[in-house]
Symmetry: C2
Subunit: 205 residues, 2 copies
């Protein structure tokens, strides 16, 4: 862990979660660089070459915090091979490439924090692709943690559905209690300012 | 669950695990149809159209038992995007497609049993792709179970390294105790002749 003010790259900064992560990191006094398809720094995780360009633009950072990635939500009977591949390419392999390509640009004892999600362990109808992707991410983080060089750490934050998106998600999450994005933002601070590695921080469940 | 003698399709039948699964099912009096790249019935999970051809050849079955799928084992620093995609296409999406394409050919109250692995939760150096793939499979099974139609069930068997392959795997699994493939074979019987769904059966750990 690097003490004091850190330079943190937030990927997926323009979404509800990314904004909460940025706010939580700003509150801690960190220097936040915002990246997304619509932020100051452009990145599209489904186009890995844009990850290389992003790090060329921002240089070395202390931490990378990802709040990026989407997966299709459809009944299992309607899912095609392409839906699985799309979710995998976006939220799963997109974040894996963020780590793989970003690693040389993260300082010694820096960190990666990825976003996973509740359905990895608590599935919902229409959520098969999301479950597969999030389960893969949680396992990736556990495994990559034991091979990170130079004391670099890696964790995942796994929130349940966000209050900020509850108008969209409520029908898919019967009986679930949504969580404010700010709660998930705090879990990113735990990962970045703390010293743990290989963890999945569950938020709101 | 369908009582008595069942028609079970074993995919990946020619490997150490597949042979043990076939033996365990034969011992239970089931009618086993063996499929793999080198068995009587040809299938290559990385070529999904061969799954369709397989079910055209074998017709309706009571259960599908998969012991198929490989992933690259390499130090994280040597892994490329292509290694991740290769492991995903083979063991992860290959088995997902086996379920998706096989489902119409599995009888009411039939079952799928997939193969996952210990590194989903207990990672080893060089095992990042395998961890991601197996974690994704465990979550897929949990999620798909709640959307299977007609009482069809789905579970995963997650063995640690097999005794039969220990000469190859021992250097990668320091401190692990290998398990006889026959133990894993029993877990397939538990899945197929039992009534549980959405489970990952850990074998040998």
């Amino acid at each position: 862990m690097r003490k004091g003010r850190m330079k943190v790259l937030v990927v997926g900064a323009s979404g509800a979660l990314g904004r909460a992560v940025t706010a939580a990191l700003n509150e801690r006094g960190h220097d936040v660089l915002e990246a997304s398809r619509s932020s100051k720094h452009f990145v599209d995780l489904t186009k890995p070459s844009t990850i290389d360009e992003l790090f060329k633009a921002v240089g070395t950072v202390d931490a990378v915090a990802s709040a990026a990635g989407v997966t299709p939500f459809l009944p299992f009977a309607e899912l095609t091979e392409e839906h699985f591949q799309a979710g995998i390419n976006d939220k799963l392999l997109g974040q894996v490439e963020l780590v793989r390509r970003g690693l040389p640009h993260v300082r010694d004892r820096g960190s990666f924090t990825l976003v996973s999600g509740v359905v990895a362990t608590d599935p919902i109808i229409t959520g098969v692709v999301a479950s597969l992707v999030n389960g893969g991410l949680d396992a990736f983080v556990r495994a990559a943690a034991i091979e990170m060089p130079r004391g670099v750490r890696i964790n995942a934050v796994s929130p349940t559905a966000l209050e900020e998106a509850w108008d969209v998600y409520a029908p898919y999450f019967p009986g679930h209690r949504p969580v404010p994005a700010a709660e998930a933002g705090r879990a990113y601070v735990k990962s970045i300012d703390g010293a743990q590695t290989g963890q999945t921080y569950r938020v709101g469940y």
